[in-house]
Symmetry: D2
Subunit: 400 residues, 4 copies
């Protein structure tokens, strides 16, 4: 038995996840791992079969597999020791193999894609839902209750369903599920995620913005007024839909702002910041489209509270994130680049003095498809199912 236990740790440690210096924090989850993994014979049997991905211990359904976030889930799970994909849906690609839609995944042994209405969830334990905004509420409403669900759409992110209707132009069709949904900003709401059945995975912009701002607001280090957020995103955030505006010739070698004044991520950002502040915060938020596929930077201009210094901001972020695997405050003065995190689940951040006295500049970078979407989704499901949250997520950034 103890051998089995060690073996299971062996399986996890060292290359797919690690726990440097925070054994105590993760202790509960580790014990959970041992329980889930079972005895030696079960383990070895399971592991020996694991080259067939669909024999892994947690059976994953992937809804909306034919988009970029779906493909990214597949990439990440390719090296996950416990999660195997047993169901894939893609309405317009039903009957096709993943390899025909995403040829870079042909080496993976994956189920044929089916239409979501034909999906059999009886052999599925958990679901990543990568469907478009607006269609997701109905589909999730129809899923069996035994499923753990991480929803990557915006459909369950806004607690206030009136706000949802205002920004998305249609009434919320699953208000009772909305009450149940937990907002999955992992490092901020980890405890809530642990016991959640349905997690609303945060948007990419809100992730890059809330991670640095929430700790500063909680500690009352910055003013609530005049928070100016200038965000820059790669194009993959717009998905794989064929749109003239996203053609190579339209995007390459040029930039522009979009959704000025009225981007749909604004209420999500304000919800999170207001929660931290215990009072309503309205932000200035302007996203920009960059000629790059992956990557996101938020440059955030804030007023420090009376008497607060840059040093105070830095120290608060340092303490808040020092034990985190995926959120890294850089050394003083070091500027985060989106290249630093491409293809990985990391968020790098730093804080700088402004020329205007009393103001600070905060910069954070993520990969919009990983920490801004599929990576954080996997991090959340790891937690929901009691696995170490970094399992299968320790990909280092691809650079150059």
């Amino acid at each position: 038995m103890s051998t089995a236990t060690f073996s299971s740790i062996c399986c996890n440690q060292g290359y797919l996840w690690k726990e440097e210096g925070k054994i105590s924090k993760l202790k509960n989850r580790n014990e959970k791992v041992r329980l889930n993994v079972g005895g030696a014979s079960a383990l070895t049997t399971k592991c020996m079969q694991s080259s067939q991905q669909n024999k892994k211990e947690v059976r994953i359904g992937l809804l909306g597999a034919s988009g970029y976030t779906g493909a990214e889930i597949v990439r990440l799970l390719a090296n996950h020791p416990y999660f195997g994909i047993t169901l894939m849906t893609a309405d317009r690609k039903a009957g096709q193999s993943m390899g025909s839609v995403f040829p870079h995944l042909i080496t993976q042994n994956l189920p044929t894609m089916v239409s979501v209405k034909d999906a059999d969830f009886s052999n599925v334990d958990a679901v990543f839902c990568c469907l478009p905004h607006g269609t997701t509420q109905e589909i999730i409403k129809g899923l069996p209750r035994h499923l753990k669900i991480v929803d990557l759409s915006a459909d369950f992110r806004l607690r206030d369903i009136d706000e949802y209707e205002e920004w998305y132009g249609q009434p919320h069709s699953a208000p009772e599920l909305q009450k149940e949904a937990v907002y999955g900003l992992t490092e901020i709401l980890r405890e809530e995620v642990k016991s959640a059945r349905l997690v609303a995975n945060p948007g990419c912009y809100p992730t890059s913005i809330q991670l640095p701002l929430v700790p500063l607001i909680k500690a009352k280090l910055i003013e609530h007024r005049n928070i100016i957020i200038d965000s820059k995103s790669g194009v993959s955030g717009a998905g794989r839909g064929a749109k003239e505006a996203n053609l190579y010739s339209e995007i390459a070698e040029g930039i522009y702002s979009y959704g000025v004044t009225r981007h749909r991520h604004a209420p999500e950002i304000e919800q999170g910041l207001s929660d931290a502040a215990h009072s309503k915060i309205t932000v200035s938020f302007t996203p920009h489209l960059m000629p790059m596929t992956r990557g996101m930077q938020s440059t955030i201009y804030v007023e420090m509270s009376q008497g607060v210094t840059i040093e105070d901001l830095y120290e608060q972020l340092r303490k808040y994130y020092e034990d985190e695997e995926f959120v890294k405050l850089l050394d003083k003065g070091v500027v985060p680049h989106t290249h630093n995190v491409r293809g990985s689940n990391y968020c790098f951040m730093n804080v700088f003095p402004d020329r205007i006295p009393g103001r600070a500049i905060i910069i954070s970078v993520i990969d919009n498809l990983v920490k801004g979407a599929s990576g954080q989704a996997l991090q959340n499901l790891n937690i929901m199912l009691g696995y170490p949250e970094n399992t299968g997520l320790l990909y280092q950034p691809l650079f150059p």
Copy 2:
């Protein structure tokens, strides 16, 4: 004589420059053209020879021809009816042809590059100086007084030579010339440029920022405090010097801020805004490097003065620039893209409401190598020599 006059107008109008609706404004300059151009026989003789560029009526010296701004001057002058290049210097490329350094220019008939110390200015009427910051003061000090000079470096942009020393780390070596230098932000300081002998051509960031802000500050429509400028630039602004940081593999598909808090363009921006305000303005200015060669966008976040509306800002910019050839306020709600101006001398701008009441977002775009450098330089020299300022500058943007 009248035929000659008409002919000269013919030469100018319709394709190389045009004057739609502002004949009266340009009348003086047009008359100057006629005077310069001379009588019929001179004109026709001159024009017939003009396929040899160095026989055009104004003989141009191009110092520092081997950099990007030098090459851009050559590109623009290729179709200029009056300016012909008769001298090119490039110390490290002395003895080489321009075509060997910039093969895209092999069809141009250009003088061999010489070292600046070997340059003969006796057959030169005007000079574009494209040399690096710091070396320019000494060289311009040594030039004959009969030359009109447009300097594209930063060496004469800051009126306060102490400020120059503070930001550039060396004492100003030509303080008497500094007094003579006129800051060449054409649309704002056109009258001063007209009579200048030495024009300090503005930096790219300052151009993109001052063009929208100066009219708003002059009209007291925005507060002087908390002007937040988030600028994004293509890489060509860094020049052709071989630096690891500017390698393709380092830049492509990624973004980052640089010079946070301390970019050298900050004092130049503040000088221009403070002049407009008649009081010291300190701005927040953060430049970002974009994975694109040309193009620049400044996204500027401002507080409107008490009682002022977005409509007021729009109207002020509309009136200020309605007769301008190269500065265009877009229709309400239309977002400028850097693609809209690539390869051209245009600045497109617009103003938008912010989510935070009382604030506004101003966006301007230019091509950093044209309106942000060589194009504005040519616009200035046209003015200094009495030609219509759009002469040789009506290239339409290259898109896609």
Copy 3:
């Protein structure tokens, strides 16, 4: 009168076109210019009005204005002294301004786009037809006979209408017009273009391939067998249609071959080479899609005829193109880059020895939207209407 003549030359020479060293070749066309342009008073009147583009002496209709080649025609004509656009059609954008579809052209004074069925051709002298393949035959069949037409589609390029049907999957619907159509590879078929009413403008790949190969085949310097053509194209050649495959995220940072064995340009290339050879030539032709918007390179691998040397190939190309404005053989050993010609109507080429004895490597580069489409179309219309063929085409390449 002689003054008028000189003035007209003045208008043309020096910046919009030039004639370096080939007065004799162009003599006829120059005389034609004089005749068209008329006397001094006519000229000056005309020129003074030319700031209103639609008052220029030749009234141009642009069919299919909302695509990239249409926009490129507008860009080129912006500085053309004689051609003004008076009619623009775009079925799906009927009623819209060009500036709303291509904001980089908002400074141009252009007619509102109409549906082609609503077009009034009574005030049009010549037409650029930028419509999709397959629809063009019917539309051109319906045009008034007084119009000069340059068709940029593939619909009239193949003389053999059976071949057209084989490659385009539908019968040719205007076989009588096909007989009339002249293939507009300007430097090769200039005399035929002169008297043409309908010119089939060559495809981009065929232009880049035939320009170097035709003179070599004509001079019997290369074998007809085993001509291997590896071509690389920017994405803009695929047009502005919204296709998943052409999204930024699908194209950036990756390459691939397409149309392997069966690209539609193959019969067009073989038609031109076979004509030059007076016998049927079958080539190996493989196009590749590049992560760039504009630019095309053909790398061509050939066997030299018995006893022929690289020197012979070089000399033949040198002689063939020495008087050409737009086709440039580079100095020996200099490799053409697509950057050398971006945004311009030039074709740069060179020839190199192969490691395999008896073989040669030929490289040619063009901008697929200029020399490969709209630029060559304008070159052809200039010729068809008796203007110097470089009129309005002397844009220098945009680099960097």
Copy 4:
């Protein structure tokens, strides 16, 4: 003991490497794994320590860590269960941390870089040598004999030291080591690699070319004459050295051939093909530089032997590679894209008919930094040390 055995398989299988369907082939290597890994207690102890990378069982020295291939080794080893980096050298960056040179690797626990002359190899078992061509021979000559070495430079690739001198312009300084060196084209020379002490890791172009051609030549399916290879590479192959030619502004949005006729990879390619043919083969090889960071495609034009069909070529490649983890022949008609393999160790290939009867077109793609450099190097070291060769290499491609 049997538990330990199973555990060790467990550790290996399922996510870091897998052995689908070729247990028999790998049997020897698996047994070696068991021997190396040791009993249950050793294993679990080892694994529990493995979060500290430098406690892994094989101690790796990385010479030349500050270049792109060095950084790529670090990225790949981050998830390798057995190899830990204990020594890093970088002469010009001696004393610095890897995170300061490559900030995307700051989360890795790595030794400080030292100068190679100060390196202590007593605690190193194996070395990746990522030094520049020309300097490597002397350094490897000085290394202790107990080290296993994979050299990523070109210094030991050419068996004929006269040929080395001819192409690299200097005499070979370690001819006795050259005799010992094994050329590490893994799938072709796996048996030789197994027992090698010094492996010369193949160049990126030669890898992409030999993998498809060697099996076809061995089976006498293609003619030796007139093999035309048109290769296209991303820029990262040129390394991180600051060169004007590799600046973003020089590379983006343009392409060109380089090293026409005389690229240094030609003799390496010909050596491999000639070995397979048992007679001297001379190829036509023209590399092209692509505006992308990673990725390489070789488009290869060949004549089939008398009576051979495309089907025969396909079948030979299918059989040759059907058991390979990293070389994949695509389904008939499917075109490989470089995107399909970016960031991974895969080589995708396919074969197509040519329009010219009797000819075929072969296309292969790799990531030049992985299968073309660091990935294949790790694959080789795995083999040299008796680990399953896919250990730590099952990263799926990063797309989009």
